[in-house]
Amino acid sequence: MRAGQAQGDPELLTALAGGDLAAMRTLYDRHAPWLSARLTRRCNNPDAVADVLQDTFVALWQGAERWRGDGEVAAWLWGIAVHRLVSRLRGRREALVLPLEDLAAARPPEPSAEERVLLDVEFGDLGTALLRLSPEMRAVVQATVLDGLSTRQAARLLGIPANTVKTRLHRAKAHLRQDLAGGFA
């Protein structure tokens, strides 16, 4: 029985900042699986993902008090993880993330009713509009808007020049604005 099973993430963070390793173990058990999956979708090298996961939690151990207490701990952890990933990819051609391009071709872009609910819940109207974007533009939107990376970091992650990121993002926003303003059935 691990200590602190009933505690929320913020309490665990406080304990962790006070040197409680068991609290970090609990946080790890809760968050490492999804973090690992999400990282793998951006970089399919398992060793790199393992290293980033390790760096994230070591950074957490050393700097747990930096959490400002606002928002979700999960989101904060992802922020640390994705920035670590980007730093790691400096100069290396490891980021092979473009399942966005491959798979979009394989599956039809029409979501099922169940999936529509998910899109609605997470993105609202934006969800279906995003569907109409090309995979390249969607990748850029995901990296900058959803993952919170800067243009340069997104460029490093996706393996494309920074200017390309800027252009695609600009075009994506134009498309989305048009779509949302025009409304859709």
Binding site: R30, P33, L103, G127, L146
Partner: protein
Amino acid sequence: MTTWHADEALLADYVSGDADPLLGASLEQHLTHCAECRARIAVHVGTAPLEAVWARIQDHAEAGRPAVLERLLVRLGASPPDALLVAKAPSLRASWLFGLATTVAFAGFGAAWGGTHGLALFLLVAPLVPVAGVAFAYGPDVDPAYETGLAAPYPEARLLLLRSAAVLVTSLPLTLLAGQLVPNLSWTAVSWLLPALAFTAVVLAASTWARPVYVAVVLGVGWVVAVGAASWARDPAAVLAPALLVTYVVLGAVAVLVLCLRIRRFDRLGSSS
């Protein structure tokens, strides 16, 4: 508003990489604020690699981040165990080094602007800095776990010498730098090194008989008296007069000789009293 949760199929697809990109992105946003789905996705992710990563994290957390000095020593070629033992000396910790830098800087500025008294302060502080550092690097007065360390196989002489060397390397350059602030010094800006090294050797040699801290205090008091007398006669630099410099050299040489002869006493039964 219904509470939506991911079904197992979606989670499995997502983890295996088969989920639609946009759905995957939506799921990721959902996971950010849904603890239940986070728990459910854990089943689909293999535990063995995660356990392996945890073992490394645990090791980092328990062992702690090595001090800057420790990493530096390893970079300079010291073995990691030696570097660790040296870096843990009380007078080589960050707090001590910071205090050292402050004291030395203060003495330097004092010498730059304080005229004769400033110079006296600098001459007082400069040779005593390494003496204090060596006295507080080792021994029963500064190390609460000294006796337990004695009962361990690591050679005491080696520990003392390595730590003293590190003290000299960290404190002398700083003081030399501060010495550059002293006006019209030329020779005096470096000749204080002779009493500094001599006194350090005396502390080391005497530590084969007595406790380093006591010896350091005696030396310190003696030096204060000497500098005070010279300062009262309006010539603080008199403590660094050529005749005295020769004395320091001889003193240091004798101390080093004694240390070499008696160094084995550290590794004999019952080196403490």
